[in-house]
């Protein structure tokens, strides 16, 4: 699964954001102000910025859950604006939510992982097979009939990832994936994510996590993405000094 499509030329970005501006209704200050980004196939990008700087908003705009005030989003070489266009995009880009309880709304694990494939028109037997394969791939054998609300926080995060991967996306948007995980689960998540043959963007406050997974890092300032020097995160080995924004 998760084979990358190679039909678009290497130089064309998977996602191109041009002058994206977004203002929350009732607010005057834009969260995103003329934001630009080129995101290429195979890239693994980290975004680290203070709360409220618009990281999640950016993901929501990319998924079409919010509508920009101005600017354009091109995905897979085509501009996306309408709900219909975004519906097609959502089949190819998967987003992992901050809170797994938002993502896992079915009572059992198998139902939840199969939900996406079923909506994509897969037959129940086929959807079950995909769900099982995805769970196995993440080391979650035997989780099919587990009841979602009884899973631990780490298990919930991994199952959430499975629900996204089961839709066989080409790009992942991960919103604080390591939040609230113990070291062991975090290591597991890092292993699985780095093994994936996918491009992804990660929002995180976790230096170690980004150090392991992201090739390039951005921060957000005044509603725009700014590249961070690699050396800025060299102090990943001193996690206690890491919060000096």
């Amino acid at each position: 699964m998760a084979a990358l499509t190679t039909d678009s030329a290497k130089t064309d970005p998977l996602i191109r954001i041009t002058d994206l501006t977004f203002i929350y209704p009732g607010s005057v200050k834009p969260v995103l102000r003329q934001l630009n980004l080129d995101f290429h196939q195979g890239e693994r990008v980290g975004i680290m910025a203070p709360n409220g700087s618009g990281k999640t908003t950016l993901f929501y705009l990319l998924m079409g859950l919010l509508k920009p005030d101005s600017g354009t989003i091109e995905i897979f070489g085509k501009p996306v604006r309408s709900e219909k266009e975004f519906e097609n995009i959502r089949k190819r880009i998967g987003m992992l939510f901050q809170d797994s309880d938002d993502q896992l709304f079915s009572p059992t694990v198998l139902e939840d992982v199969a939900f996406g494939p079923l909506n994509l028109g897969k037959k129940p037997a086929e959807a079950k097979l995909i769900a099982r394969d995805t769970l196995n791939q993440l080391g979650l054998e035997g989780f099919e009939n587990r009841v979602t609300h009884k899973l631990s926080g780490g298990e919930k995060r991994l199952v959430s990832l499975a629900t996204v991967l089961a839709m066989e996306p080409e790009v992942l948007l991960l919103d604080e994936p390591s939040n609230g995980l113990d070291e062991e689960t975090k290591t597991r998540l890092i292993t699985h994510l780095s093994d994936l043959d996918l491009s992804y963007m990660i929002i995180s406050h976790d230096h170690d996590f980004l150090y392991e997974l992201a090739q390039s890092n951005y921060t957000m300032k005044n509603g725009q993405l700014e590249p961070m020097e690699r050396m800025h995160i060299h102090y990943h080995s001193h996690p206690h000094t890491s919060h000096r924004h």
Binding site: P25, G26, T56
Partner: protein
């Protein structure tokens, strides 16, 4: 508030079932795709909140909250209450299969009446909202008790004394629910006005906020 199995007559149970099914049908029609999660999760909240006990002197009562759920959900309150009652039956064996319909009406009909009478005043001045919210919460409980008493009376005229007891025993609950409804509505109005369908209808274009 619910009636146990084994008390009501066939005609009362069957009429209850038919009215509840019709109401549920209308309620479901009123829920679009975007709001299924909202109705389900508010229904879960209603379930949890109605397990909260309030002390009244030496005894305690559990809250009913059908006035609030009516203001929050409108017609969707009927399926939401039905679902909560099914789960109560499964988890606690409160109520049951044959009284599911009548119990849904006992709880949901006052919710709908409250929705029509009082949602226009949720965003009025403080005094008006306080007064109407109190009446909404208290009236919903009163009407539920009344419906319960009526279903007993339709079953057997000899239930007069029992019915009277049902209504009078709920009088203190009415007052408490009225007070709770006042504070709860004023809180919701301040903190998240878009939770009220009447607010959403007036501000249709509004993209609601979420934290980044």
């Amino acid at each position: 508030m619910h009636i146990s199995e084994g008390v009501l007559s066939g005609p009362v149970l069957i009429s209850g079932g038919i009215i509840a099914a019709t109401g549920t049908y209308i309620g479901l029609k009123n829920i679009d795709l975007e709001h299924i999660a909202n109705v389900g999760i508010l229904s879960a909240t209603f379930f949890v909140a109605s397990l909260i006990h309030i002390n009244i002197g030496p005894s305690s009562v559990h809250l009913i909250l059908n006035g609030i759920i009516g203001l929050l959900l409108g017609w969707a309150a009927i399926p939401a209450i039905l679902v909560a009652l099914i789960l109560q039956t499964v988890f606690f064996q409160f109520g049951g299969i044959t009284v599911l319909g009548i119990n849904t009406i006992i709880m949901a009909a006052p919710a709908i009446i409250g929705y029509y009478l009082f949602s226009p005043f949720v965003f009025s001045s403080r005094t008006v909202t306080t007064a109407t919210a109190f009446v909404c919460g208290a009236l919903a409980v009163f009407l539920s008790a009344l419906l319960m008493a009526m279903s007993l009376m339709f079953t057997e005229e000899n239930f007069l004394e029992v019915s009277a007891l049902v209504v009078t025993s709920h009088l203190p609950v009415m007052v408490v629910e009225g007070i709770i409804t006042v504070f709860c509505i004023s809180f919701l109005k301040k903190v998240r006005p878009e939770i009220f369908p009447s607010y959403r209808q007036q501000h249709k274009s509004l993209n609601s906020q979420f934290s980044t």
